[in-house]
Symmetry: C2
Subunit: 337 residues, 2 copies
DNA sequence: ATAGGTTGTCGAAGCGCTTCGACTCCGTCG
DNA sequence: CGACGGAGTCGAAGCGCTTCGACAACCTAT
């Protein structure tokens, strides 16, 4: 293993000079810089991470806490994780992957040991038990998701309230009067992850303004569950012509069941999905959808974090504006019989 | 920040004693140990990761390199990643998330800087450019996936050859004669990730023995692509009654198209999927499938790695035996007309 | 010409931990 | 009863890096 000292010797300068060449924290003459860089190349020098962390008390590592559950939004999580890792690298940081399993202890461990300089938390619950810890430490952190009380925290998330409203507007504009929301699994609501409720709230209040009637039904996803849910919806509101689906694993079942019941999409019923674009475009009907901008969320979270690490960067809530893309699954409401 | 020295002072012992209590590398009297542990508790001490890494030249971090592509097998990747993180923790290691983006440079960076003690690579190509580097370093590594030349490497993977054979056997046993393989996207074959070829080889050679006729068609996934592929298959081999699908995003389209063409599953055609159990059980027909044991793969990879880090642990290829679960999508071949 | 700045470089002091050798204290064995 | 060895503890020497103050050399302004 090549050390700083060896590079220094090889270049005929002192160790501190090499360090300053690397960090750029003091001015170095062009000649010296070149000689040092040459030596670094020739010797294949890589600074030792541990030593660096010890001396500078900065690890250049960001911790990312992902939920342990692999039952929900998996592609979205993955995409966020990868976006986080990728953009962290462009800022010179590496990413440490923590699973939710350890819970608050992980936060303690990481902040206490200086393993990471900052952290990003995903899958935040409305009243997350990790929040007090975050507030109590001076280690910067960013949440992806929105807890009930955001004071003193920085959060990045899709504006799910606006998303719900957007769906309502689109369906209202097309003349639909009775719409149904196929929600996430009941467990998601019980866990109070928030985003599902926020979507619903936004959708409901905009619907009220627009005169839409809304029926909300959580749904586990999968065919059997969807079948049951759909039956109950048409039972209660036979005139339902618009669907908003916020559960990836219910999308395809819904389309199949509608087909089976000879309800044409979009002639008889319209469907809007809240899902990643990839899902919307790969479905059996190209779906009108509000995209979940996973990449952007990851990137923004990192940017916020870096800003905090660099000193400028305030606690703020960044809500990404939803965008509705019209594809082939929504159309004018059928003429009322 | 609490340091070792402060703990030592608080407990009335020397710093080295505290260190030995923590590491257990020398015997400590019960009384002293207790006093030290008490002090650690009271002061809320967490050893500094950087200092520890510097002094011991071990970071207790495992690097995990995931592919950058988010287009394929995402849930599987995620599940593996989480399994890796979780089991690494049980062995006292944390996981550093690297994306494939940096390529071989990431390997150099990590091994050179001592950021991680070992690494796990996913999505290994047959002739991966990172392999020479791995062979040339003494840092332990494990691959998830199988390159062409495994000499000097440790690999963990599902035995895709046996998987293919298993599919052939099951369909042959049910009396099918003409089967089609819906493969991964052409890009996967071009990239030579290997697993797709291995499946096909295993399936073909067993089919030869059993007298099955096999037609293989890569498929992008999605409805349009699947529709085209299916049409061509029935065109060329109208008597096809068995399908083996190795492309998650082709499963649902295939089922929908078969339904649309009034070919009943499993009465007219049988379908076997090679996919995670979750996909198999959530599909519109409960699918007979060979599971991709993501969790197990992650766990085994970590175990191999830990073994190497602890000194015992040889280069070996661990192939997990495939298991076929019969569900509702396969049945006896229809009587020949 | 002299005081005052710049600019570029160096030496040395740590950062918090691990680990090696040394030392003390006892119990044990010949 | 003295030599011996194990158990338990300590001191000190680093691990490889950053960073601070010092200093020489040079360049302006007065």
């Amino acid at each position: 293993m090549v050390t700083l000292a060896e590079v220094a010797q090889h270049a005929g300068v002192s160790a501190s000079t090499v360090s300053y060449v690397l960090s750029g924290k003091r001015s170095i003459s062009a000649g010296t810089r070149q000689r040092v860089e040459q030596s670094i190349q020739e010797l294949g020098y890589h600074p030792n991470a541990g030593a660096r962390a010890l001396a500078s008390s900065r690890s250049n590592i960001i911790a990312l806490m992902v939920p342990l559950r692999t039952d929900m939004y998996v592609p979205v999580m993955m995409e966020i994780a990868i976006a986080v890792a990728t953009s962290a690298r462009t800022h010179g940081y590496d990413v440490l992957l923590l699973t939710g399993e350890e819970g608050p202890d992980a936060v303690r461990r990481v902040t206490g040991s200086g393993l990471a300089d900052a952290m990003i938390l995903m899958d935040v619950e409305l009243d997350d038990e990790r929040l007090p810890l975050l507030r109590g430490t001076d280690q910067p952190s960013v949440l992806i998701g929105l807890p009930a009380d955001t004071s003193g925290l920085t959060c990045v998330d899709l504006d799910f309230g606006a998303t719900g409203a957007l769906c309502a507007e689109h369906l209202a504009m097309l003349g639909h009067r009775d719409i149904a929301v196929i929600g996430e699994a009941p467990a998601v609501y019980e866990r109070h992850t928030g985003f599902a409720e926020r979507t619903l709230d936004g959708l409901r209040s905009r619907s009220r303004e627009l005169g839409l009637r809304v029926l909300h039904r959580p749904c586990e996803g999968g065919y059997d569950s969807m079948s049951l849910t759909l039956a109950r919806i048409f039972d209660e509101r036979p005139g339902t012509t618009g669907f908003v689906v916020q559960n990836e694993s219910a999308v395809e079942p819904l389309l199949a069941l509608l087909r089976q019941q000879s309800r044409a999409v979009p002639e008889d019923v319209s469907v809007i999905a809240i899902c990643p674009d990839q899902v919307a475009t790969q479905a059996s009907v190209r779906l009108t959808s509000v995209a979940i901008p996973a990449q952007e969320m990851g990137r923004r979270a990192v940017e916020q974090l870096i800003a905090k690490l660099e000193g400028h960067g305030k606690d703020e809530v960044v809500l990404l504006a939803p965008e509705l893309t019209v594809r082939a699954s929504t159309g004018p409401a059928p003429a009322t019989s």
